[in-house]
Symmetry: C2
Subunit: 84 residues, 2 copies
C-alpha cells in the first residue's frame, strides 16, 4: 500500500485532520521525439469534469508540474469543502 | 523524484522499451460518513477527455481500483500507440 502513503502521507487519524481530499496525478512518459505538451490544457478540462461530481473551490486547488527527461507529471490536489 | 520511479518503475532506458505511456491516478480521501462512489463514472469521463488529446486504443487501457479505509485510489494506465 506504499502508493497510498506516498500520495497522502502517513498522518495520524484524528478528527482534527478528517478532511476530504481529491488528488489527481497525470504522468506522461514519452519518447524524445514527441514534444507536444498538452498536460496544462488537459488539466483544465479534467478539473471541469471533476467539478461535476464534487464541489470544488478554485482556491482549494493546488497544481504542480514536474518534468524530468522523458517524464512529465502533473499533480492536482483538491481540498473538498467540509459538509455543513 | 521517488514518485516518478513509483509510477513508472526503474526501467533501463533502451530503445526496446521506448514507449509512450500515460498514467492517471485519482485518489479520493473521504471521511467515513460520505459513501458516494463516483470514481468509476468519473474515470469514464476522464478517459473521454484524454482521448481528445491522444489516440487511445480501448484495449490498451488498464484500470485498477484500490480501496482501503478512507482511501479509494483509481489508477488508469494507457499505452499510447507508436507513431508510424
Amino acid at each position: 500500500m506504499s502508493l497510498l502513503s506516498m500520495l497522502f502521507g502517513n498522518k495520524p487519524k484524528t478528527a482534527a485532520v478528517a478532511k476530504e481530499r481529491l488528488q489527481l496525478i497525470i504522468a506522461h512518459e514519452r519518447d524524445g521525439a514527441s514534444a507536444v505538451n498538452f498536460l496544462p490544457q488537459l488539466q483544465r478540462e479534467l478539473i471541469e469534469v471533476i467539478s461535476k461530481y464534487v464541489k470544488v473551490n478554485p482556491d482549494d486547488i493546488r497544481v504542480s508540474l514536474e518534468k524530468q527527461d522523458r517524464y512529465e507529471v502533473l499533480e492536482v490536489k483538491i481540498e473538498l469543502p467540509e459538509k455543513g
